[in-house]
């Protein structure tokens, strides 16, 4: 008794059909391994202090790609998702910046934090039209 596909290829292929979403697959976990471990290191207060004092120098201690480093410094969270970042790990970066989840998450949606907050207060984003790229439902 199994739910959904048992074949890993068809299981993963379905994820690409969801609009505006990067599912944290094994491929992304591998690509973002050091990026996420870097973010995780900010849980320690002494690391947060060193990071805040000199972000570039701190990043040099981690084997990130140049793209990953640039995206971290720019706080470009959509780009970081594309480069293997996971939001729970990236949350250590924006928490260190003093941002809430709503503030940080809104930066990925193309609207201002005020508009995003208003959307949430009005019941959130409707799934209508955002379930499937292929089917447009």
């Amino acid at each position: 008794m199994m739910t959904g596909p048992k074949d890993i290829h068809s299981y993963l292929a379905e994820f690409e059909d969801i609009p505006g979403t990067r599912v944290f697959t094994a491929a992304r976990a591998r690509q973002g391994y050091h990026l996420n471990q870097f973010a995780m290191s900010l849980m320690a207060p002494e690391n947060r202090a060193r990071w805040t004092a000199d972000e570039k120098a701190y990043l040099e201690e981690w084997p990130l790609t140049d793209d990953q480093k640039a995206a971290v410094l720019a706080r470009d969270y959509n780009r970081l998702l594309d480069l293997g970042g996971n939001i729970y790990f990236l949350s250590k970066v924006f928490s260190t910046d003093g941002l809430s989840f709503v503030q940080a998450v809104s930066t990925m949606t193309g609207v201002s934090v005020e508009d995003y907050q208003a959307m949430m207060n009005a019941g959130g984003r409707s799934p209508k039209g955002l379930r499937s790229k292929k089917e447009g439902r």
């Binding site: 008794m1 199994m2 739910t3 959904g4 596909p5 890993i8 299981y11 993963l12 379905e14 994820f15 969801i18 609009p19 505006g20 979403t21 990067r22 599912v23 944290f24 697959t25 094994a26 976990a29 391994y33 996420n36 471990q37 973010a39 995780m40 900010l42 849980m43 207060p45 947060r48 969270y77 959509n78 998702l81 996971n86 939001i87 729970y88 790990f89 949350s91 250590k92 928490s95 260190t96 809430s100 989840f101 709503v102 998450v105 809104s106 990925m108 949606t109 193309g110 995003y116 959307m119 949430m120 207060n121 019941g123 959130g124 984003r125 409707s126 799934p127 955002l130 379930r131 499937s132």
Partner: protein, 280 residues
């Protein structure tokens, strides 16, 4: 003998912990959310569970990318609140029940669930927020807690069916523990939410309530909901709801709902809460 007397489902949004800790739980934004837990707080005072088996997920706190256990059970004596990047929550340490936890762990492994055993870890908002919601501000949590952490971050997480079956195995394990204990099982996380990408902020009130309906009574249709449906309908983080199915599976063939609460929004998330008892 030990027995599972009730199941509780609840979201575990970190902002609820912040609101609770800063005393904002009666303001305009949080008041309606916390009001839905008042019934449960009174009920818990009367029920006095000895142990809560608390199913949750770690959010890059105790586990980083080095080790990703699918199902992990805490067999330790005590757990401290994690520093998630803004300092640990000022809530009591969580006291474990190593005798029952090890009994469950051993029983589950014999029952072909290959559990990871944890003896030491810190516990994050996934575990401490539900405790605050159900017990309020206390000097010590009123019961022992056995953490059961599920990977719902790195794909694939366990299937809903596997989670339900784990709940059934937990019920068998608890029932064979010789001490007379009142045990509750809580499933936490969800409901619909997406914290990433242009689709962030997705909320699906209709689907969430269908899910709550499906926990009540004899139906087991929720165990067959595939991951892709959670992703499409409830956002990328809505997958946390598979953890509620461990709770539901542990309650046996049928349930009765004692209390139910749903509210949008809290931060980026739909809040869902339900109290169930076995009716089979």
């Amino acid at each position: 003998m030990a027995r599972i007397t009730a199941g509780v489902g609840s979201s575990h949004v970190p902002l609820l912990g912040v609101a609770h800790d800063l005393g904002k739980d009666k303001d305009d934004y949080f008041g309606p959310i916390f009001a839905g837990y008042e019934w449960t707080r009174e009920w818990e005072k009367a029920e006095k569970p000895d142990v809560v088996l608390l199913v949750y997920n770690d959010h890059a706190s105790a586990f980083d990318m080095k080790i990703i256990p699918t199902f992990a059970i805490g067999c330790g004596e005590r757990y401290k609140p994690a520093d998630e990047g803004w300092g640990p929550r000022k809530v009591p340490d969580v006291i474990g029940h190593p005798d029952l936890a090890w009994h469950i762990a051993q029983s589950l492994i014999l029952d072909e669930f290959d559990m990871t055993i944890i003896n030491e870890m810190d516990v994050d908002h996934g575990l401490t927020v539900p405790l605050s919601m159900m017990f309020g501000a206390v000097d010590a949590w009123p019961c022992k807690v056995i953490p059961l952490a599920v990977n719902v971050v790195t794909y694939p997480p366990p299937s809903g069916n596997r989670c339900w079956a784990l709940g059934e195995a937990i019920a068998r394990a608890v029932a064979s523990f010789p001490e007379d204990l009142n045990v509750q099982i809580w499933g936490t996380g969800g409901m619909s939410h997406q914290l990433q990408g242009p689709r962030a902020g997705l909320i699906n009130r209709e689907w969430d309530n269908m899910f709550l309906d499906g926990l009540i009574g004899e139906s087991d249709r929720l165990r067959h909901v595939p991951h892709i449906e959670y992703l499409r309908e409830t956002g990328s983080e809505g997958i946390e709801m598979v953890m509620w199915l461990i709770m539901r599976g542990a309650l046996g063939t049928a349930t009765r709902a004692l209390h139910r609460h749903y509210h949008v929004p809290c931060s980026n998330t739909a809040i869902g809460h339900i109290v169930l008892e076995p009716a089979g």
